[in-house]
């Protein structure tokens, strides 16, 4: 750690924002950043932390893991930030986490749901935190939902083979679903940024399974659901938090989305989230998506930890972060467990004529659900 | 002694028979002309002899061995060199480098030696440079050795092409319209040079040319090609009198 002392003496607190601002997944990075900025703004408007203003130093990782490590190095060694929020995607977080560990600067990955972000070879990485629930929770819950609520016996998994996110979700789902007596009859894959899914969907149609599970992000999901319905696939389609964006309705169309279910971090109708949704809408003129919400949560988490640490020493902040308990953030209450995973509510949503309808509230007692 | 002999050589492009029954013989030290109307197949014949095209039928024997199936670079190493109808120099390189490349196939140092600058590298490089400069001197190009080839005047480029061909140490030299684009005075100088090269380097020359003053002036024997076939061969005097040649190529009285 070569940044701590100097930063402690100045009257501002520098926080790094390492995000995908250009390149392939720039939309995820930039929207997460929007939420984060709002959280920081609110903290500053409320007088900052112990009288000090927070400055957000942004760095672009170009959607490339190597660049993410590079950007983290810059934030830590040049800008001397006390903590970093970001990146949005798991691969980039992985690359950054080594730099953070070596320099003893805490990072919070707002959207990274993969378990091995915080735990490696059974060892928790002390300086790496996350701002969301983890994949086992999502997939276990959805598998149980499929088997118990929808009484599904067979399933098709359609995953994005270019992201870690999708692959690890698919694996957990399959294990749980089969443990519950179901059978995954077909596994197909696409690649992020694809436009046309009809070829594979034609194949999936022939499998004629009870449900289709698509752990992926909204851009592709919207197109997949639309094209699936066009091809006459009428089964329920299940998904994950990557679905949660108003764009999914715009792209797929309200009709096509009927009979689809996904799990996510919050609902607009949830009283816990209302304050955040209103504030965000006021600030940006449009409703937040899930990335923005998680960016906001991560900001809240960090601000809270710095306050409790009572210092801007990165190691003190790290300690405070690890002790976060029942903290009210934008989307609800969260607690950090010993693996730096979050214990936090989740929501299964059903899409009905373009509206999100709360189907089931999940209140887990552990991070795995 | 016989150096080159072709038998029944033909070349078909799609449906077009560009060359058929192209039978010629060249002896050591001879200076032969190849003439014929435009599109008769003269350049194609050169391309067949140098391996740029493979003959559809026929055999080509050079110094007692068949050339059929060999690649151009292999034929070059057997001892046939050429110039091109449309000049093909390494135009961005210096005059000296143009000639050095032709000498390179005779250098022996290895890749490791060249990369680590060991052993034979410096010795052979110096020798190549020395020989190249000597050759350039013969062609009155030594003061242009470090100029880029494309900046040379046209006539100098033609000379450089011949010099470069000679650097491969050929036994047979093929010249495709060496006098094209030269005025009569320049053509006369070229004639002198061709005679001198033949003597000095002790090689055989086969040349294509439309300029009759050159062909009739220096060639010992002439082959005439029309529609891909040899229609006549003989000494310049015989060819000039041959009515078929007059009708097909020379036109009117010569």
């Amino acid at each position: 750690g070569c940044g701590g002392e100097e930063a402690a003496n100045s009257d501002e607190i520098k926080i790094g924002a390492n995000f995908e601002m250009t390149g392939n997944v720039a939309n995820y990075g930039t929207t997460t950043l929007e939420g984060l900025k709002l959280a920081i703004k609110e903290a500053n408007d409320a007088g900052g932390i112990n009288g000090k203003k927070i400055t957000l130093v942004e760095a672009d990782n170009k959607s490339d893991p190597a660049e993410a490590a590079n950007a983290a190095t810059k934030l830590i060694s040049d800008d001397k930030v006390v903590a970093i929020v970001g990146p949005a995607t798991s691969g980039a977080v992985q690359a950054e986490s080594q730099v953070a560990t070596e320099n003893k600067v805490p990072i919070i990955a707002p959207d990274a749901t993969s378990p091995d972000i915080t735990v490696e070879n059974g060892q928790v990485k002390p300086f790496v935190f996350r701002g969301c629930f983890i994949d086992p929770l999502q997939s276990n819950t959805m598998a149980a939902f499929a088997a118990n609520e929808l009484k599904a016996k067979t399933a098709v998994i359609y995953l994005d083979s270019s992201t870690d996110y999708s692959k690890s979700l698919a694996e957990v789902f399959k294990n749980k679903f089969e443990a519950l007596g179901g059978k995954v009859v077909m596994e197909e894959a696409f690649v992020a940024k694809d436009q046309d899914f009809k070829a594979t969907l034609t194949n999936i149609k022939t499998a004629n399974a009870d449900i289709i599970y698509i752990p992926a992000y909204y851009e592709e999901v919207g197109k997949i659901v639309k094209q699936a319905r066009e091809l006459g696939i009428t089964q329920p389609i299940l998904g994950t938090d990557g679905w949660d964006d108003t764009k999914v309705v715009d792209i797929a169309g309200a009709d096509a989305l009927n009979n689809t279910y996904f799990i996510t971090h919050y609902t607009e109708t949830d009283p816990d989230a209302k304050a955040f949704v209103d504030a965000f809408t006021k600030e940006y003129g449009h409703a937040p998506g899930v990335f923005a919400a998680l960016g906001y949560d991560a900001g809240k988490m960090l601000v809270d930890a710095i306050k409790r640490a009572g210092s801007t020493d990165p190691e003190a902040i790290q300690k405070a972060l690890a002790e976060t308990k029942d903290l009210q953030v934008g989307t609800g209450k969260l607690t950090v467990d010993e693996n730096h995973n979050l214990i936090k509510n989740a929501f299964i949503i059903e899409m009905k004529d373009g509206n999100k309808v709360l189907k089931q509230r999940v209140t887990p007692t552990t991070a795995e659900g | 002694m016989e150096l080159l002999k072709t038998d029944g050589v033909s070349k078909v492009f799609g449906g077009l028979k560009a060359v058929s029954n192209f039978d010629i013989e060249i002896n050591e030290g001879e200076l032969i002309g190849l003439i014929g109307p435009n599109g008769a197949g003269k350049t194609t014949a050169f391309n067949l002899l140098t391996g740029v095209y493979q003959p559809t039928t026929g055999t080509i024997d050079f110094a007692g061995k068949s050339l059929v199936g060999l690649k151009p670079y292999q034929i070059t190493s057997r001892g046939i060199a050429r110039t091109f109808q449309n000049i093909r120099l390494f135009s961005e390189l210096t005059v000296l480098d143009n000639v050095k490349i032709a000498y390179d196939s005779h250098a022996k140092y290895s890749l490791v030696e060249s990369v680590l600058r060991l052993g034979r590298y410096f010795k052979e490089e110096d020798e190549i440079t020395k020989k190249s400069l000597e050759l350039l001197k013969i062609f009155k190009l030594e003061d242009k050795a470090y100029e880029v080839a494309k900046n040379l005047p046209y006539g100098a480029q033609r000379r450089l092409e011949i010099a470069r061909a000679l650097a491969t140490k050929p036994k047979l030299l093929l010249l495709d319209e060496p006098a094209a684009g030269m005025n009569p005075q320049e053509t006369q100088e070229l004639m002198e040079m061709i005679r001198w090269i033949r003597k000095e380097f002790g090689l055989s020359i086969l040349l294509i040319e439309h300029d009759m003053s050159l062909v009739m002036g220096i060639c010992e024997r002439i082959y005439v090609l029309e529609y891909g076939c040899i229609i006549a061969s003989g000494t310049p005097e015989e060819i000039q009198k041959n009515p078929e040649v007059i009708k097909a190529y020379l036109g009117g009285e010569v």
């Binding site: - | 109307p37 435009n38 109808q85 009569p184 006369q188 020379l250």
Partner: protein, 234 residues
């Protein structure tokens, strides 16, 4: 008809034409001779507008055309047969001729000139639908000339029309040039084959490394010792 005054042309830093002046009168055949790289093609290309002179004027029928874009110079009545023929190899003979008449709109006139070209070059009529690239060298030269005539030029610029041609064809081409001239087209002829060129020209200019060194009556120049030694090989 055409008057060039003190024209300088550069290729980047290379000073290719150094203060050239020359004149062509209506109805003449004027020839420009000189060694390789003397600047003959450069002169023609500048007249045609493919190159822009740095200084100097080119007056055509009283109008300065120096620096005008090439297509406007064609419209003004100057047409060039470029060095090396440059026919559009992948197009048919007919399409090449049509392109020659690109600037014209008078359908009837074009049809008439097409007939005229076919009369002059019967070989082309035989091969109207053949791809130009597959013609023999001499036929391509005829096509290039026919194509230039299709714009109905008053001044025709010919750049080495005999290059690479068999003796028989050279003779044919030269007699065609004379015919065209008799039919009323002024000709500026660039040639390596100086003997032939001087024999059909009215007047001649000698170009040496970008400068005009001699000029005068074609017959007189052909007879002059200096020219004979340098260009005629005698």
């Amino acid at each position: 008809m055409l008057k060039i005054n003190d024209m300088n042309v550069y290729y980047g830093a290379i000073h290719a034409l150094k203060g050239i002046s020359l004149e062509i009168n209506e109805g003449e055949i004027v020839t420009l001779i000189g060694a390789n790289g003397a600047g003959k093609s450069t002169t023609l290309r500048t007249i045609s507008g493919l190159l822009k002179p740095k200084t100097g004027t080119i007056e055509f029928e009283g109008k300065n055309i120096a620096g005008m874009p090439a297509q406007n110079i064609v419209k003004a009545g100057i047409s060039q047969v470029p060095e090396g023929r440059r026919v559009f190899a992948e197009m048919t003979v007919m399409e090449n001729l049509e392109l020659g008449a690109f600037i014209r709109k008078d359908k009837a006139g074009i049809a008439k000139d097409l007939k005229m070209v076919f009369e002059r070059f019967p070989r082309l009529e035989e091969r109207v639908n053949q791809q130009a690239g597959t013609l023999s060298g001499g036929e391509q030269q005829m096509l290039a000339m026919g194509r230039a005539l299709m714009s109905r030029p008053r001044l025709l610029l010919l750049d080495e029309p005999s290059m690479g041609l068999a003796p028989l064809l050279i003779r044919e081409i030269f007699s065609i040039i004379q015919d065209i001239n008799k039919a009323g087209t002024t000709v500026l002829l660039v040639e390596q084959n100086a003997n032939m060129a001087l024999s059909i020209a009215n007047r001649a200019y000698v170009l040496e490394t970008g400068r005009i060194t001699l000029s005068g009556d074609a017959k007189e120049l052909a007879a002059s010792e200096e020219v004979r030694k340098a260009y005629l090989g005698g």
